[in-house]
Symmetry: C2
Subunit: 370 residues, 2 copies
Amino acid sequence: MTVDARFGLDRHVRLPGPLPLDGGASLPEIEIAYETYGAPGAAASNAVLVCHALTGDQHLASPHPRTGKPGWWQRVVGPGKPIDTDRNLVICANVLGSCMGSSGPASVDPASGRPYAMRFPVITIRDMVRAQAALLDHLGIARLKAVVGGSMGGMQALEWAATYPDRVEAALVIASSARHSAQNIAFHEVGRQAIMADPNWRNGDYYDGTPPAAGLAVARMAAHITYLSEAGLTEKFGRRLQARDAKSFGFDADFQVESYLRHQGLSFTDRFDANSYLYITRAMDYLDIAEEHGGSLANAFMGMATRFCLISFDSDWLYPTAESRAIVQALNAAGARTSFVELSSPFGHDAFLLENTEMDRVIAGFLASR
Amino acid sequence: MTVDARFGLDRHVRLPGPLPLDGGASLPEIEIAYETYGAPGAAASNAVLVCHALTGDQHLASPHPRTGKPGWWQRVVGPGKPIDTDRNLVICANVLGSCMGSSGPASVDPASGRPYAMRFPVITIRDMVRAQAALLDHLGIARLKAVVGGSMGGMQALEWAATYPDRVEAALVIASSARHSAQNIAFHEVGRQAIMADPNWRNGDYYDGTPPAAGLAVARMAAHITYLSEAGLTEKFGRRLQARDAKSFGFDADFQVESYLRHQGLSFTDRFDANSYLYITRAMDYLDIAEEHGGSLANAFMGMATRFCLISFDSDWLYPTAESRAIVQALNAAGARTSFVELSSPFGHDAFLLENTEMDRVIAGFLASR
């Protein structure tokens, strides 16, 4: 048996361009960091693409090479697991615009030999999907058995179906939305302004100096609140104080929730690039699949054979059930085969990353049926 | 008729201390900026104290002396209005810790001759109420016909009743809470971290230099989202673009909601002191009236003759109806005379500041009954 170097963990490929982008610009070439799990079947008919969320990465089901932490969906993806790597070739690629090995603002612009920084073109979710399609071409995968994603991953799954309906047999969209609401945009804008307010940001040209870590930490803190539910925060922290067990009457992190948020903010700056945060949040804010199809979301999916499954969580206020329901209504209007379930969880938007046997059952069932 | 200089618009008084504070420190003296409307009745039996919110001021029902804008509750307070200044002496004082003329971190510390900055003691909502009680002593007002407030103003109204039950005939608490939840604390902590991340903050000692305006603007932007409802934001802005009517594929404020938030952030820095923002948010986060009374909110109001009225708004997710309901249950358990209404509004927490004829009717009715 010959080893095909295109498949396996911690892969990296440079694909020739140009890759045309929604904004009118194009990238002369793109790099994609990705991983695959399981073995390609006949004609790659068992390929499942999993798309990651805003700050995710390609280390889906293997330990992160730097931190040693388990892959972000290792609970769901693996031998005998809901996304079964004994049966499927599972692929996960770092999105365009990110900072985990795929092309993004921290990448070197071949034209100048220096990091793109803010000279990287503004991209869309559809552009991310185009880059993934180029990767599948490289892997010799014409058609996906399924594309799966939560949050921004779900947005990509929807864009996959809308952009390449003939390449997508089934799309599984979890805790997601087909467009960013005013409130979604508002939270992202706070994060971007926090980054840009940091003097170390220097219009994005910080790669040879100190990165805008303080601003990025504030951005992460604000976003993190939206990932949790009010009830979840109350259950997890309530008004509990830190170890010293008394109010300091100062500005230290008295409450556990403060300490938790500060930690979330700081640890994020170790692993994420501030400019990537700007670009990816922008891509999400620009998302409005209906707008791309004459104002009708149903038009985006009209007459396609792709099967859909949507999952929402009752405590998710970032992409609430109403957003999934709007997608389901459009899919029904388009005549697409669609199933939909709202699951109960106290954990808000983050629920899709956490233990949820109901979700596991829905994922496994949807992938098993054809 | 002699004019009593203690009453009228744009008043300012320096009260001798020491004012003991919940944190154990005390202030050697306090300054209070306040306004009164209407005339004192016999034995000041018609005094209504209105307490302002986090970023509010004493200019309740008169044009702001600097901006010329109408008072923040001019719609509700005035001759023949729900809080009728023909019948009542209405008082509004800038809270302790603020920056509109009352003592706060920007005030000069008499001990050093320099601004307190972060040497100002951390205060609580109850400390704000103590300062107001000292003002009432100065005005010769032994007892309030009513104390009224929305948001942090409602917290003060509750603390008034809990701390000085014999001085409060009635308390009207609008869109408020008896304690800050984990999510409330989390949002405030994001704002504080945004301010402290601004290098111009310089541990609070910026009064002879450039203030941390960028950090304060980010704090305000994050807070502002919590003042509006998701539906209200969608109705007001949706995904509408700015005048140029096309996505820029850049990082300008493409969406109207972005431009609105940036404006809210920037204009706030003209009128508010960043250190005051730290101190007042801290006071709100520390609020837990039950904790101050052995863990039982009912204990705080046990056996008192004060009448209560609570108003919540169905779209308010900052201090949702459940918080008001918890207060009402405690008041009922304490045997207090209590009325409660949840009003419908699309405007979220901000509803208490906006046109709402139902609210006007409840306020007027509650103040008219005795």
